[in-house]
Amino acid sequence: MKNTSTKKIVISAIVLAVLIAAFALLYGKFPAKSTAGDKAIVIEVVDESGNSTEYDVDTDAEYLKDAMDDLAEADDSFSFSGKDGGYGLMVQVINGKQAIYEEDGAYWALYVNGEYGQYGVTEQPVTDGDTYTWSYEAAE
């Protein structure tokens, strides 16, 4: 019985190690790809009432956070802040409106060309012509 248990522990430990290695390899092989150079993008903010504000941004930033920093510098009506985590910024406030899930029961959701974003703001690559929408979303 003890031998069977030890065998199961060893096998499961090997499975875990192999999975970690395989997942790390995949993560390294298929990162979010960015492009250098000038880009014209649209950053849209949809507030809690559903009102939309669009900002046309010309930027050479490769990632969305840098493009948003450029916009915040150029346009006083746009601002954002958040909490730094191990894997980038978690956007919590846009244009003065806070959306922290634990406190407000809402969050700022990122959409890229209308599709739900797959990356955080720090990792989201910026592509010429794309629209990045920040939408205030409350828990239902």
Binding site: L16, L19, Y101
Partner: protein
């Protein structure tokens, strides 16, 4: 003939008893869901560190069939509290799968084994969630679209799955024995 019918009825009654819950069972099921929800709320400030996996494993190991009622009730409560979005669809198969896998290994009583098991589950959580995204993409453009929707979504979250893996592993490793000792009293 009468004896045969009586025997058949007895067997049916015994099956019915097996899936019938007493008032104590229902109270216990409510307590299990409350424990999961409270732990979830307490740990909500730490992304991907959770005790739901730990508790569902422990409940399956020590309360057996009662967990059959816990999982759907827990998923329903989650949907009511947080809204029934895409993630809720994922919960419909992810947590029952955890319970099923736990039940398959229910004879194991090693903290290390269950820590590794929890770690693997945490690591694969994103991959399991991406199945829903595959079908979302598939519905609009076939297999290729399904793959293109699910794969980048899963890859983008691998680092979070790693955190999930470590969190699950550590929590199970340290909590398994003390909680098991308490649960044995029930």
């Amino acid at each position: 003939m009468e004896i045969l019918i009586l025997g058949h009825m007895k067997r049916l009654n015994s099956m019915e008893d097996k899936f019938r819950f007493s008032a104590k069972d229902i109270a216990l099921i409510g307590a299990m869901i409350a424990v999961i929800e409270v732990c979830k709320a307490v740990l909500s400030f730490m992304p991907n560190v959770e005790l739901t996996t730990f508790w569902l494993i422990m409940f399956t190991l020590y309360f057996g069939r009662k967990v059959i009622a816990v999982v759907p009730a827990f998923i329903l409560v989650e949907g009511i509290i947080y809204g029934m979005n895409t993630w809720w669809i994922m919960y419909l198969y992810i947590w029952p799968l955890l319970v099923l896998l736990t039940w398959l290994f229910r004879k194991e009583d090693s903290a290390l084994f269950w820590a590794i098991f929890s770690g693997i589950f945490g690591l694969c959580f994103g991959a399991l969630c991406s199945i829903t995204y595959f079908f979302i993409g598939f519905s609009s453009g076939g297999i290729a679209a399904g793959f293109n929707t699910a794969f980048p979504w899963w890859i983008a979250g691998i680092m979070w799955d790693m955190i999930h893996c470590v969190g699950n592993f550590v929590l199970m490793l340290f909590l398994y024995k003390p909680i098991r000792n308490v649960m044995k009293r029930f």
